[in-house]
Symmetry: C2
Subunit: 596 residues, 2 copies
Amino acid sequence: MISVDRAELAFQLFEALPTASLATLPRFADYDRTAMDEVLDTAERIAREHFLPHAAALDLDAPRFEGGKVALDDRVGAALAVYREAGFFSAGFDREWGGTQMPGTLRAAASFIFSMANASTAAYPLLTFDAASLIAAFGTGEQKERFLRPMVTGRFFGTLCLTESQAGSSLGDIVTRAGQNEDGSYSISGNKMWVAGGDHDICENIVHLVLAKVPDSPAGPLGTSLFIVPKFLVGEEHAQGERNGVALAGLNHTMGYRGIPNAVLNFGEDEPCRGYLLGKLDNGLAQLLQTANEMRLGVGLEAAALGAAGYRAALRYADERMQGHLPGNWNPDGPPVPIIEHADVRRMLLAQKAAVEGALALILYAAFLVDATRAAPNAEASHDSRLLLDLLTPIAKSWSAKYCCEANSHALQILGGYGYTRDYPVERLYRDNRLNAIREGTHGVHGIDLLGRKVMQENGTGMKVLAARIMADVTLAHAHPELAGHAEDLAAHLAEAVATTGRLGGTVGSDPRRGLANATLYLDMLGDVVIAWMWLRQAMAALRKRATDSSDGDLIDGKLAACRYYFLYELPRARTARTLLDSLDDTALTMKPEWF
Amino acid sequence: MISVDRAELAFQLFEALPTASLATLPRFADYDRTAMDEVLDTAERIAREHFLPHAAALDLDAPRFEGGKVALDDRVGAALAVYREAGFFSAGFDREWGGTQMPGTLRAAASFIFSMANASTAAYPLLTFDAASLIAAFGTGEQKERFLRPMVTGRFFGTLCLTESQAGSSLGDIVTRAGQNEDGSYSISGNKMWVAGGDHDICENIVHLVLAKVPDSPAGPLGTSLFIVPKFLVGEEHAQGERNGVALAGLNHTMGYRGIPNAVLNFGEDEPCRGYLLGKLDNGLAQLLQTANEMRLGVGLEAAALGAAGYRAALRYADERMQGHLPGNWNPDGPPVPIIEHADVRRMLLAQKAAVEGALALILYAAFLVDATRAAPNAEASHDSRLLLDLLTPIAKSWSAKYCCEANSHALQILGGYGYTRDYPVERLYRDNRLNAIREGTHGVHGIDLLGRKVMQENGTGMKVLAARIMADVTLAHAHPELAGHAEDLAAHLAEAVATTGRLGGTVGSDPRRGLANATLYLDMLGDVVIAWMWLRQAMAALRKRATDSSDGDLIDGKLAACRYYFLYELPRARTARTLLDSLDDTALTMKPEWF
């Protein structure tokens, strides 16, 4: 059974954030609180009835490469048909192209529900959203008509074909080529690796966005361009036309996310492959970066959803499983207790709650920034929010991937031997979630992105905005005596983090290798501080709610306890990390390969 | 290709420890340095030729439950036949029963090699060793003749049938029954869960050691007894006799260690099941505890071996994989660098080296204590060593399981997308190693064992012995100027850990629930300090070697760098943990189930 905690989602959306206020913006006028609740009701029902039932089976019986095609459990396509009917493919897109202009914050909450139920099946539309967003941002009117519109309605799915076997994270080193044809289109040739949802026949067409280089383009990332490459050429009224030269070369056998084919694709190998330039020539990576925030928040959201699914499973098990006796009250004749009575089990549940709800709070906060930015009257009005979003995104993606996977490990541990078997979902969730620190920029790549780029942008303005927003909440928190200690603690951590950032930033300028040597630790450290902020915000929201409303007392107590847990058990490691960061330690940098 | 680092093993055995000196003891007289090297040569050859080749295939094509039997890859039996021929089953047992009296320290090193190559296939003889050790310790002469002798030669394998579906870690709550027959044997009836190697036909007989209760035995752990329950009754000269009433009820489908059947066994359900009391009535758990140290060290060793296999795989990949460019030297036209040039990759390799070699050092140190204890003239002479061993065992098991599994996660991360596929071994090693924090006492159970029992034994004498041995090494380390800082650091950590232990110990006495509420953190904290000691010892051994010998310079530099890494990057978290432990925080304890 799916156990989405709707009270938790409502708290995050409507107490910790003013999501309901988005309806006052013209773009989101259709989405008042009632409409929002209906969206979540529908998502929960479809997730329970159509996504969850085949999640375990899909993992066991993963898509197979048969006769050049992907053989896939029929229930995936059936579930996504229901999803399509309910309008979830069109959530978020402009009405002009068939979208419903659903606020991204709400869309994120709905996606969380689907990914909790079945992360693999839920991944197809998330990838389609990423690809369609790029076309929406950079496509010509004709391209939008031909490709975006049917993606928005869910007739066509989308993929991103970025890296290659030799390139990995280093997208500037791709070798896929695009040569211009006489009609202005391009002929694509090359091989792409790790294409999630790269082939299947559960939709009418697949629109691949392919990163490639044209002849004489500059070396490296500044010489890459994006191309729209449909599996089938598109005829009138989006009818399936001739098969394009995109061939499935094989599937990668992955440890998790086994329900979505992870494909190797060949372009233009046996048959000509036609592509259409998206946006500007040699601007491919820049365009990807412009939409990367939402993509990366999406990965963080999936990580949080997988963590939440494990948390709920562990919680139910801990409530029901009778085992052991309590210290100090040890009586072998007495009945065993539910294992949730054991302090260490509660600690592992608190760790999961802190990670999952902390991550979710940050991702929804960031999604709200996206919505607010999009609805802002002009770029200037949203300037600070965009810088803040740029800075929070690598954290929201990476902290969530790291600690929500750790949460899955705690869930597995609570179930013990049972957790290690396929009789319960927790081992599958653990396997799935391990991917999220690798895809869409590895953990290490995001560390370098954060320290080497994001905190430096515009002379550190993003960091100043972050500090100002945190301090505004610290000030508010001082109004609550029971949060004053946490508020002080957060303020101290923030001040130290700002100082560490300045120190490291200077070194990144003068000696980049040394400055960036511990960038991953910096990412983790700043993430710990940001999540503490999210917990302080949640604790304040809980107290605000308590002041006006006598319901949900358990939820409020739980938020306060989890906040306390986070500040006492998790946040202190940020200080340990800063000591190391401040020392500019170069142990890893100076370690010689032959010493290993 | 298996990549056992023989220089590393030789360093651990013969530089960090005086393993070669064991040959001066009468029991181990056959094992001089040359003989020891030959044992390791043989282990390496057999592991490479017979264990490694089927490791990946065995994971994919796990044992199946077919027609009431286990269908198993033939190569497992074939590999173990070679292992048997080479005499590894008899390693460690007394010559009287067919053993070779191999020192346990050397046996551990050989087991490390086999588990690195194929942890599943290597697990059969490890489990057989555990069961045979119990018979060696508590069996009658007749039982040893009938069961131990053929186990020592590897004709019979062994299992431990301890827990049951409802009991989990709480072995006092088992319900399997044993009723005495007229001939003095017992009739066993009940079901056992999680029996690794519980059924197969790759040996002549399987000797199950079954924990059960006789009628009117006291409730709880003090009312459990151990029974020898062979799969086939044993005839003259160990011939296979009548089938005993042990039936395979099913297999658990586990996330890792998939090559060894994880069985559910029924005893005496359709056919009568005969068992023979091992040792004293109602003394089963006490007997298990007496041999538990070696069993648990074995689990820690497997964890270290899995970590080492991942480390070597990641190291090779990092050396060979060309990808990316270095900060500060960024030239998109230039060739990519081997990823080992990236500081973050080196950091993840150092983390693995620190975990794996730190764990291995501790396990071999403990194994050496076992050897020294066994060869001691009397119990008094080995008293301190036994207390120290009792205290180090939960750490050696649990720290290794936790951090060597984390090492596997780092290995996976270094391989990126490739690491997430079955084309490389790292995802399998990661799945395998996740079990080791669960079996043979979960992580949490060992925390309670350490804080609630081991550090309290004999008024804390074990802790005093530990502190004295660490301080002796600290004193020695001060002779090396480059280690003086680490020595001081370790001494400070030790003093604080002793103080924390005293404080917590008092609370455990007065308010056990509160005192033990953070026992897992205590386990991790003391483990961090003990592993720092192991790194200081390794660094000293490296400098001693350098002073007398110009070879192995890279190994020595690597040890010094890894020691530095450990002290700077890993050890500081112990201080953070102590702050929390000293506060006697009860956040987890007071968290109410309904608040989650």
